[in-house]
């Protein structure tokens, strides 16, 4: 039974052809791994940046708004390539896994070993549950429109709850000289960061107000709406660049 489940559909190639195409698979996979670790991580550092770097930036309003919006980008583009051309529903999971590998390497080597921050202060957020759902929605619907709307919304809405089990405990209050702080805030105060003064944090600033004191659901839905637009945008970017027309002279 178990072996039957693992059987693959009938293949067009056998023998030497199958061996060569398989070698090509591994070549592409290894390249993709390093490429996405590099560029998606760079994209994340430049767009989400401090929101993902520090405990005391992971607020209830801007963090769940900005992170999914910026993190649905590469998954959409890579899904466009892998699904349209190969019927492989793993673009989002692949991108986010690569991103997290890069993020963990950076947090461990450069934040912890090189700059001495305790790792718990600089833990990255996870988007893997969102990515798995996005891949599954695309596969089951085979539709960019439905994936944009349902998948994009799910991607954003799952972000905060899937990270709350990791970061919730850093929101336990402590008393600091007559005022309450979260443990996350205390990290920011205690562990000296010369170039990251407290006032740079964006905590409930701007026109995005809490409504009836519900900040996170509002942000999450705002992010969900924006993700439904961001998804097709990056899908078509992925499509536009997944072509050989730029290299036909080679």
């Amino acid at each position: 039974m178990a072996t039957k489940a693992l059987e693959v559909p009938p293949q067009p190639y056998t023998g030497e052809k199958a061996r060569l195409t398989r070698a090509y698979d591994y070549l592409i996979l290894v390249l993709a791994l390093f490429l996405f670790i590099g560029i998606f991580h760079l994209h994340m550092m430049l767009t989400v940046g401090d929101w993902d770097f520090w405990q005391d930036w992971k607020d209830r309003q801007w963090w769940p708004l900005v992170t999914p919006l910026m993190m649905i980008t590469f998954p959409a583009a890579v899904q466009a390539v892998l699904w349209s051309n190969f019927r492989l529903p793993m673009g989002a999971t692949l991108c986010i896994s690569c991103l997290l590998i890069g993020a963990w390497i950076a947090r461990y080597f450069s934040y912890h070993l090189w700059n001495y921050f305790p790792i718990n202060e600089v833990m990255p957020a996870t988007m893997l549950p969102s990515a798995l759902v996005l891949d599954a929605v695309l596969m089951l619907t085979n539709s960019v429109t439905v994936t944009s709307i349902v998948g994009g919304m799910a991607f954003a809405l799952l972000f905060y709850p899937s990270n709350w089990p990791i970061f919730g405990m850093f929101h336990v209050p402590v008393e600091y000289n007559g005022a309450q702080l979260t443990i996350a805030d205390l990290f920011g105060f205690q562990y000296i960061r010369a170039s990251m003064p407290e006032y740079l944090r964006i905590i409930e600033r701007g026109a995005l107000r809490t409504y009836g004191q519900y900040a996170t659901p509002l942000s999450a839905f705002c992010s969900a709406f924006l993700c439904t637009l961001m998804y097709p945008l990056w899908w078509y970017m992925g499509k536009a660049f997944a072509t050989t027309k730029y290299v036909k002279n080679i």
Binding site: Q11, Y13, D59, Y116, F117, P165, A194
Partner: protein, 416 residues
């Protein structure tokens, strides 16, 4: 020929290496990076002291000091509406356990008032062994880091000995160094495992060329099997269930969580310490002689106190020119002077050194000559957009009462 060239190249490289790693190389971490007019005319530090030089891991190091917020705040620098009293160190080699400004505990940012006087106390706890140049400094919003004086601190001991216990509001004592780490890694590992399973589920099959070929030939539907669809449907059910279940569990485990806190602390300045009016100082002219690296300041000093006063020191941008003739001038410890202090050895020369009598008004010419103007890059002032000098002038009377004036003036350069 080539050999000579190689030797020359080798010598050149050695020279470069020597220049780069010379023992008195600049320990640059931003002390001199800002324009001189910002370092001289925003936060004016004085009386900065360190409680010890050689703490062991877990020992306390207390930095105390005072600062005056210059009245002549540069036009080019935003007003200090959000500023953060920080400590310059190579990362969190210390943790900051307490911080007070004017006796008031503060963990956030604060607004400062122009012309205000403040004192501060920062309590640090040594975390990592090593030798560090530690400064108090201010992050000024949209302006940069205005450094206070620096001091070499040598932390001894072993890093593993460091602990940072904190008591939460519900009474639990946690160690900040490890809190939540295992839990976080656990969740990441769990989702990684799931993601890896999903990726492997697909990667184990022949991928790109065969799948593309099948898709092109209209057999695309065979590429996704009923079992694949069942698993995907399972993901759509199980993943949200786990996510929302774990969220609910976290909520029930940590009942009282609060959002990140942010506040702008309101800290009133002290009763005036600088520019109290008892001894008034007006600058009539300031000249900087570039070749001799010498600043001459012509001041009009009016002593409205009831004691004769003497000029003791002029300090600007953490460089200190001390009137070596003033009594007590050599009591270095009393003035917080040590090996790390930027003191001009020739001091401050004064054209009329006799004490200024009570009620007297006198024109005094002060000259501070030292290479520190150049090495601390304060002489860049004359080529700045706002080439005004600022600093603190300290005067004392016979009973050691101190009068401080924050002075400022345009500077006229003498290029040769």
């Amino acid at each position: 020929m080539t050999k000579t060239m190689m030797h020359l190249l080798g010598i050149f490289c050695l020279g470069l290496f020597g220049l780069t790693f010379a023992p008195n190389a600049v320990y640059a971490h931003g002390e001199k990076s800002l324009e001189p007019f910002i370092r001289m005319r925003t936060i004016q530090w004085y009386d900065v002291r360190w409680s010890q030089d050689k703490p062991r891991v877990n020992d306390e190091l207390v930095i105390t000091g005072k600062f005056h917020v210059a009245e002549d705040w540069p036009r080019a620098v935003p007003k200090p509406d959000a500023s953060y009293l920080n400590v310059s160190s190579p990362g969190p080699v210390f943790v900051r356990t307490e911080r007070y400004v004017n006796g008031q505990a503060t963990a956030g940012s604060a607004a400062l008032k122009l012309g205000g006087d403040y004192d501060f106390k920062i309590v640090l706890k040594a975390r990592l062994p090593g030798r560090y140049h530690i400064h108090p400094f201010f992050n000024l919003h949209d302006a940069g880091a205005v450094m206070g004086p620096g001091h070499w601190i040598e932390v001894t001991g072993v890093p593993a000995a460091f602990t940072n216990p904190v008591k939460t509001l519900n009474g639990d004592v946690i160690d900040m160094e490890t809190y939540g780490l295992a839990n976080g890694i656990g969740w990441h590992a769990f989702w990684f495992a799931l993601a890896a399973a999903w990726l492997l589920w697909w990667v184990r099959r022949p991928l790109f060329i065969p799948r593309n070929k099948m898709l092109q030939s209209g057999q695309g539907d065979a590429l996704v099997t009923p079992l694949d669809r069942a698993i995907a449907a399972g993901i759509l059910v199980v993943v949200p269930l786990v996510v929302f279940g774990a969220q609910a569990m976290t909520d029930s485990q940590y009942l009282n969580t609060i959002p990140l806190q942010t506040a702008l602390d309101q800290i009133e300045p002290l009763a005036p310490v600088v520019n109290t009016g008892l001894v008034q100082v007006k600058v009539q002219r300031a000249e900087y002689d570039v070749p001799s690296r010498s600043m001459t300041i012509v001041t009009q000093i009016r002593n409205s106190s009831d004691q004769p006063v003497q000029i003791r020191e002029f300090a600007s941008g953490n460089v200190r020119f001390i009137n070596l003739a003033s009594h007590q001038a050599n009591q270095d410890a009393n003035q917080g002077i040590d090996d790390d202090t930027l003191v001009a050895p020739q001091g401050l020369s004064i054209d009329s050194p006799a004490p200024i009598k009570a009620g007297e008004s006198r024109i005094v010419r002060l000259t501070g000559t030292d290479a520190l103007w150049a090495t601390q890059r304060l002489d860049g002032l004359i080529r700045d957009t706002d080439s005004r000098l600022g600093g603190l002038l300290f005067l004392i009377d016979a009973t050691s009462n101190r009068y401080i004036a924050s002075i400022s003036s345009a500077v006229i350069p003498k290029f040769d």
